[in-house]
Symmetry: C5
Subunit: 256 residues, 5 copies
């Protein structure tokens, strides 16, 4: 579980409702099914018009990526690739075949599979880069679904508030209901602005960042395996991958 994502949402809501409670307000006045229907329903509708259904489904499905935690395995992968490079050097590329079953990471397995199958280097590169590219592009569209939701929600919330105010204004003759009516109308704004700024936009941000990190990781795997195919010296390969992953900088500090 991505503690930052879950904790961030809980923390933000706790601070906001807690702060309100300290001032004498109570969360109860925010529990309004109608405001939720207006804001979430209106936003969902706008999203359904904006994107093909396949994009919408992918966007919702990708939502869990924002909340799932995946430990960085870059260090392990570099070690594994360098080890494979050593074997390929000593015993030839075909010797990697028996190692294939030990590889867990599916993209690395596929890449090494190309090596073992003797697929031409340029075709292997093309296939691996196309896969990286497609995964990233598809993910970016999905992240855009969340970003768009973050754009529509506040305006739909304002729409809901104006509708509520219209209702209030039409019944001005009974001033005792004025305050409560305006309060109710404002709740739609709270739902719109709150869902956009505490959920939709932050989730879109984290998705984009995680997709970029995953792209970097897959690119590192592809570069590593293609370098084995090109016969690069394992020690040089390790240096190269470390610099790709940004692990180089601290190490280089030893020179001081």
């Amino acid at each position: 579980m991505d503690i930052g994502s879950v904790g961030g949402i809980v923390f933000a809501i706790a601070c906001i409702l807690g702060g309100q409670a300290l001032e004498g307000g109570h969360a109860g006045s925010l529990m309004q099914a109608t405001a939720a229907i207006i804001v979430l329903g209106g936003t969902m509708g706008a999203i359904m018009v904006s994107f093909p259904m396949s994009d919408v489904k992918r966007g919702l499905g990708l939502g869990k990526l924002a909340f799932g935690e995946k430990k960085s395995d870059i260090g392990d992968i570099i070690k594994q690739v360098v080890e494979l490079a050593g074997i390929a050097r000593r015993e030839g590329v075909l010797a990697l075949e028996q190692k294939l079953t030990e590889i867990k990471e599916p993209f690395l397995k596929r890449a090494v599979g190309f090596l073992v199958d003797g697929v031409d280097a340029s075709i292997a590169r093309d296939a691996l880069e196309t896969e990286i590219h497609h995964e990233f592009d598809g993910g970016s569209v999905a992240a855009k679904v969340w970003e768009s939701a973050g754009g529509f929600a506040p305006t739909v919330g304002i729409l809901g508030a104006v509708l509520g105010l219209i209702h209030v204004m039409e019944n001005l003759s009974d001033p005792s209901k004025l305050g409560g009516g305006i309060a109710t109308a404002f709740v739609a704004t709270v739902y719109g602005v709150g869902s956009a700024n505490l959920l939709f936009l932050p989730i879109a941000n984290k998705l984009k960042r995680k997709l970029a990190l995953e792209k970097d990781r897959k690119t590192l795997i592809a570069e590593g395996v293609l370098s084995i195919q090109a016969g690069l010296n394992p020690r040089v390969l390790e240096e190269k991958l470390a610099s790709y992953s940004g692990h180089h900088a601290p190490k280089a500090d030893d020179h001081k």
Copy 2:
């Protein structure tokens, strides 16, 4: 029919009006011909000044693309192109002529027509790419018409609301009409913000996405037919087209 587009609009409006009804408001107060005249007329006028009439017409005409459903036929097209590649390989490019009448998809037919006519590869590529490019560019301008409408509508709505408020303010002496007047003024805002966020901007989004998908599809057709001309092996061609269409990734998973 694009169920997402139609359903999204219906769903959004149902949720918003339903939510309002649950709070005691009634949709009737929103039925105001004058607000519609102000917002839609003002927006339409701004669009007519912003774009040449030919763009405006194209934009309106393209609107139905946002609501039309077109099943993805990428799988069929790949199969067809690979089959044509097999025939071309076994019996020569000229043998494709008798297949020409069986091809339904007009762009594929035109591309194969170039092959059969013996048009030079670079000229055929130029002609196909120019057509793809022009269709996409023209469509993008049309999508911009909707996007601009989504930009003008809320400000025209605010204009209408301010005009209504001016009218209210000039008649402050009769306080009993105050509430109703303000309510009426706000309806223009509802029309402006609502039409922009539930119609114009989402339609512009979907048009842009559909145009991009159509561009990818035509590019795939062009690449496929030009690869036949280049004599590419049908099996390799299938791989190539599958990777272009993003169908590669799942298939590649089999390696796991």
Copy 3:
């Protein structure tokens, strides 16, 4: 006259004032010289600080381009260029000299003049492209003047409204004048938002679009004449120019 531009402005204003009239308001309350002085004067001043006087003059001068109608003569030009290509092919480039007086379109005349004068191809290309480039760049700065006006007008309008409200607030002791004062203050907002969204921004949009179309048109002329110089076959040249102008696509449909 560009009917879209003139009609759009008339239509927008008619709808907005008409809608207001139907609600009982009257256009008279909007006839306020002071609001016009504040908004238009303030916007004009901001523009004068923002741009050198030469740009401001050019921007104002270019305004009439947004309202002038110019029929597309692409078809005629292609016909003329292809005809010239035929003459050049049969009788040599010098034979074009006697045709020079018949050419009306000044840019085409200048381009053919280079041919007749035997100017080197690369120098002719350079000169023609530089002219296209300069005209487009200069026009873009001029369009930016209108766009900036569309950006400044609403904020100056709000400035005017706040000034009006300050005046109202200072005289709260006489409540009977409250409504009228607020109404007057709001008129500045109407002028600012209205002029920006019904005039300045749409005019800037149309200028940008017309400049882009004119650039495409001149590029087509330059390409055509330079192709004559390169000795391109007239029939191939016609195909090429048609594809440049986007006239190709429909024609290609014949293949269906």
Copy 4:
């Protein structure tokens, strides 16, 4: 003095205050030292945090460029460069040395100095382009200081207004002071929105435009002198520089 800049500011303020006076308001209510302290002080503070002091100083210093008038001397410079090219052609590059003292424009002098000193062409080009580049980049950062001020001022103005309203709200018990208090609070908004839209943003715009024109002018000088070094024919050089400066287009019209 740049009449557009000075006149624009005076004109804008005169129109806005004049318009207000015609409606019965008086400029006196806007003379509030506290609003000026809040808006200008807060904006200045935000700028000091945003940029290193060296950038802030440069930005303030560059402000006078927006108000200084510099006649375009492009025509003179072209004449001078063409003349130098003629001398270099007839008498050799070294003959330019005695002309060096007659050259007033420092950048042209430095460029010709490279010629006379026999500096290698690629090194001379590098040095001149680096200087142009650095001057433009440094100026752009300075223009950004003004642009940022235009971004911060309105929000600081709103901050000031909200602070004023808080003060008013805390003293609601005395309604007679309500109007005056709100009026005072609004003045901060006027200062923030006014300074941004009549001063900071327009000045940033003009600085950017003037820096771009100056960059074009220096590039023309560099190209001219480097062409002398390359031995370009003076007449061709004149044509080339004229096309660079955009003076070409009208001249080409003679062909009509």
Copy 5:
């Protein structure tokens, strides 16, 4: 200590609170723990969802860069590099080894280390550029954390204000508390707009500027040392580095 950053914040707050005090308000009404909890807590939560924890930590850590002062040592570095170039020229690159202990700047030391170790030029360039690139990219993400905080804070502040207003509206029956309640609600807006415009956005700006300057500085070091390896003449190297650092322009003025 970066006097601009610290002084700017102090100056801005002093001007704003001082201005308010002069108008009769007192800073005490702004001392509200609840508003701070809502705005800062909500913003922090949104940031935690938006970025992986590692980015958030890096962003907070980098915050001190905005407040730390680092004198420009470009002059010293150029002198040192030119001196090293002289030694390398006279006594060979290996003679630099004994100088290695005297070099304080760690990046310069590492670069010269590559020289002494005889690392291949292209590999050394790659390693140095990768390090510069990674440091800049990582820093940019960290600066984005502050920029995002500046984007979320005002909307969370408005959220807090609306929540406060809802509370006020629900208790309209007691008008004596109305003013105080609204005042309290507005404080959240002050915290949101103030923290964004006086802290978060300016800090993000300064971080971005300092990162760019540091990147330029490291690029200069890398270029200098690589030029030593390439055997560039020390005097030419000095010229080159001076032009890189922008120190060239004033010097060139001597020619006048």
